[in-house]
Amino acid sequence: MAFPILSVIILAPLAGVLAIAVIPKQKLLAIRSTAATATFISLAGSVLICVLYDRVAGGMQFVEKLPWIQSIGISYTLGVDGISCPMVLLTGIVIFTGVLVSWSINERVKQFFINLLLLSVGAFGVFCSRNLFFFFLFYEIAVLPMFLLISIWGSGDKYYGAYKLTLQKIGGSVLVFIGILVLYAVSGQNSFEIAALARADYLISVQKILFVVLCFGFGVLALLWPLHTWAPIGHAAAPTAASMFLAGVSMKMGAYGILRVAIEILPEGAKAMMPYIAVLAIINVVYGAIAAMAQTDFKYIVGYSSVSHMGLVILGLATLNWVGISGAVFQMFSHGIMTAALFALVGLVYGQTHTRDIRELGGLATKLPIIAGVFILAGLTSLGLPGTSGFVAEFLVFMGAFKAYKVITVLAIIGSALTAVYVLRVVRRVFFGPINKKWENLNDATAFEMVPLVILAVTQVFFGIYPGALISLINLGAKAIAIKTGGGLL
């Protein structure tokens, strides 16, 4: 049997949790470095699978399979294709930088890192699972850790944010759960394997209904309008690392679910219903952008920008063609990195100023040149400037979308142009202009704090200049799905 690299990626953070559990809670350095080591192992593993993935052969690779509950076709099946690989890499980067960013947390350190690592177990598991039982198990695993992260280490109206996020997510999970069980029942395969379910024949009416159920179920995490309302409030209440993870990875779990479960298993349903979903996606793009323009809280702005950007992801998926899906997946990766960087930076600023109101901030660039620099870079990625990964992603999405929905695409392009308005507004308000006297004593990012920032910044630029490194992977997976949906090359 080959080396079970996917299991190592998933279980390394879990091993980290167990190790941290036995370390006495006074030994802060030991706890932090254990967390960093565990997530670094996962990160190294995810880089490795992206490099080692055989681009000629394609398909599912690094497959592991263990029987689990034989009588109803549940097995522990892992495998990654061209779409999962970038998602695993994204999770690796975000969780590793999240641990580094949280280095300065002093309150209940041990519990904090245990919860943070548990989040990543769930995400890695979702992106690697090829069996719906385990897919759903990993999808749900993060419920309590996220609830605790927000309600213990959060700020502002944290209990409300924690409950809203948790209950809304569970509401979505109920739909997903129904969808999965009904798929199992009507497929006649007596199996929860995604591959087996995708082979089965479903009536077109069943496909349509189940597709909508699954799409709205996953749509809660993917921020599909009007199910997005947890995001701004949840982000504002969450501690930095949790925000990074929520926006960087959790939302992608939703979009990945739509792609992997809803579209891959029910391509006919997708073809019939996706035009309607595309309309919701366009509302996402425009509404998110307009709402972001009106906000004054730093985190709310980034939160609503996520609503807007996830709209582009869903629009890309809705095209059902090769280029559009590639663009959506690339946008998931690019947005994950970019938004993680933004939240990390907001956290750094907030840690010193203790306000996130952009009207009170101003002129920080003179005091915080590095933070300002990285923020501007992430902002440019956000608005899709050529040379950053955001440009490649949006370009592909619009290219695919124009083929499928002309009017909607034009609206989406206008909507995403609004991104420039609110990004530049924040940059001007916070980093330029006259400096408030209160902020004379701020310190820029320390050498240690720069490590995660540099990782995130370099990733954005690297994949902006050389997108081929990921596109070659994503294309393989997107093509396989586009063939099923009949969306074709373009």
Binding site: I69, S71, Y159, L167, I178, L181, A185
Partner: protein, 482 residues
């Protein structure tokens, strides 16, 4: 040699008598060994029962049935009784009551073992009496010396309520059984089944369905026969609440399978919709009422009503997977519920309160207790990777496979509702500040019990096949009889 199959019952019976006798004869100090004696007796009974796992034959002209279903439930009841006896080891302060307490638990367990095997109505009725009468005494009689004990009043109230409603439901059940006997002319369940294969037209038969279901519904805590549950759980000693919520509820399910399904399988199209509706109502009532509870025992009581509803889903499906789902669900629910009640006992012993607000900051005072309660509550809420998730996944998958989509949707909706009140307790434990910094010490026995219970909950959640394999065989052999 077939009578050897009754050795476990004999062991429990002899142990119970011995405990009762020694409870009178022994010196006060030596009475602490009685719980040990009771536990040893049960362990032996479990060991013999497990040897019987492949046995399948009737005894005394179908009056008792020894089959995988009976063995499964007997082991289940014995294991639960073992846990209850262990966590009761220092409960009883009143020296006159020590022997009686453990003997009553053993007698009630013996009754449960009898109804697990019963294949005939009179035996079932006698067995049910043996289950219930000791429970009435256990609920009513406070094991703590009554000096200035406010709870003894609540205990009496709980006991009276339980006795009156219990008697009433038994009377109704008896009425239903009488009609059934009158229509079929036999008391043996298998013969009733063979006599009732045609279409159902007789109104008296429908009446008897309803009465029998009512009688068993009382044990399960099924709506609308649930009203005793919260008051009784709250007023009874917590150990007995745990016994009621796990063993007594499972006893209701074994009766449903043995008598109700066993006799009326032929006319299932008529009563399945009834069970479906009652399951939905039970879930909704349990979960909605639990939302506003401030007392953890009442919260667990309402949640246990709701869980009865989930377990009924499998009965409504009535396929091999459905029955297996119900059995497996009872296991997952039982483990989590026992674990939760054990924590409640330890916390009550330390701080003397069952109010949820007094659980504030429990994590700071006793991290182990907080984690054990979190594990059990998450399991009850059906969050992975705990047992409850596997249980819900399996039983709901059976509902989907049986095309009971309405039931599926309502059951899942309820799962989401229930998360809210479980999270409330968890939030108190982790985020609120404790009223006193005083650490809670946990005695070694409780520590070991809590470790075992939490690990089992986790283990079943991670690898459910260890039990699903068994419940599937049991369900297969049970349905092969029709």
């Amino acid at each position: 040699m077939r009578m050897a199959a009754l050795i476990p019952e004999a062991i429990v019976f002899v142990t119970a008598l011995l405990v009762l006798l020694l409870g009178v004869l022994l010196e006060e100090k030596q009475k602490t060994y009685l719980s040990f004696l009771a536990a040893v007796g049960i362990v032996f009974a479990i060991a013999v029962e497990i040897l019987l796992k492949n046995a399948s034959f009737p005894l005394y002209n179908n009056i008792l049935l020894i089959d995988p279903l009976s063995v499964f439930f007997k082991v289940f009841f014995l294991v639960v009784a073992l846990f209850i006896i262990v966590i009761s080891y220092q409960l009883v302060e009143d020296p006159d009551y020590v022997g009686e307490y453990f003997a009553l638990i053993l007698f009630s367990t013996l009754g449960m073992m009898v109804i697990s095997s019963c294949g005939e109505l009179i035996t079932m009725y006698v067995g049910l009496g043996l289950v219930s009468l000791p429970l009435y005494a256990l609920v009513t009689r406070s094991p703590v010396i009554a000096s200035a004990n406010e709870d003894s009043y609540k205990g009496k109230e709980a006991g009276i309520k339980y006795i009156i409603l219990g008697m009433l439901s038994t009377a109704v059940l008896l009425y239903g059984l009488t009609i059934l006997y009158g229509l079929t002319g036999t008391l043996v369940v298998e013969e009733i089944y063979h006599n009732l294969t045609g279409p159902i037209t007789h109104p008296a038969l429908i009446l008897s369905f309803a009465f029998v279901l009512m009688g068993f519904g009382f044990k399960i805590g099924m709506v609308p026969f649930h009203t005793w549950v919260p008051d009784t759980y709250e007023g009874a000693p917590t150990q007995i609440s745990a016994f009621l919520s796990v063993a007594s509820k499972a006893a209701g399910f074994v009766l449903l399978l043995r008598i109700f399904v066993g006799a009326l399988m032929g006319s299932r199209v008529y009563w399945i919709p009834m069970v479906e509706i009652l399951a939905i109502l039970t879930m909704f009532l349990g979960n909605l009422a639990a939302l506003s509870q401030d007392n953890i025992k009442r919260l667990l009581a309402y949640s246990s009503i709701a869980h009865g509803g989930y377990a009924l889903v499998g009965i409504a499906v009535l396929s091999e997977m459905g029955i297996s789902g119900t059995l497996f669900y009872l296991i997952t629910y039982g483990c989590a519920s026992l674990c939760a009640f054990t924590v409640v006992i330890v916390v009550f012993n330390a701080i003397g309160s069952n109010e949820i607000k007094d659980y504030a900051g429990l994590y700071k005072k006793a991290p182990g207790l907080a984690i054990a309660l979190t594990v059990s509550l998450l399991s009850l809420a059906g969050i992975p990777v705990f047992a409850g998730f596997a249980g819900k996944f399996y039983v709901f998958a059976s509902a989907a496979y049986g095309k009971l989509y309405t039931l599926l949707v309502f059951a899942l909706l309820n799962g989401a509702i229930s998360l809210y009140y479980y999270l409330r307790v968890i939030k108190e434990m982790y985020t609120s500040e404790p009223s006193s910094e005083e650490a809670i010490s946990v005695s070694p026995v409780f520590k070991v019990v809590l470790w075992i219970e939490s690990i089992i909950v986790l283990l079943i959640g991670v690898y459910p096949w260890i039990f699903i394999r068994i419940t599937e065989d049991v369900a297969k052999s049970f349905l092969a009889g029709f």
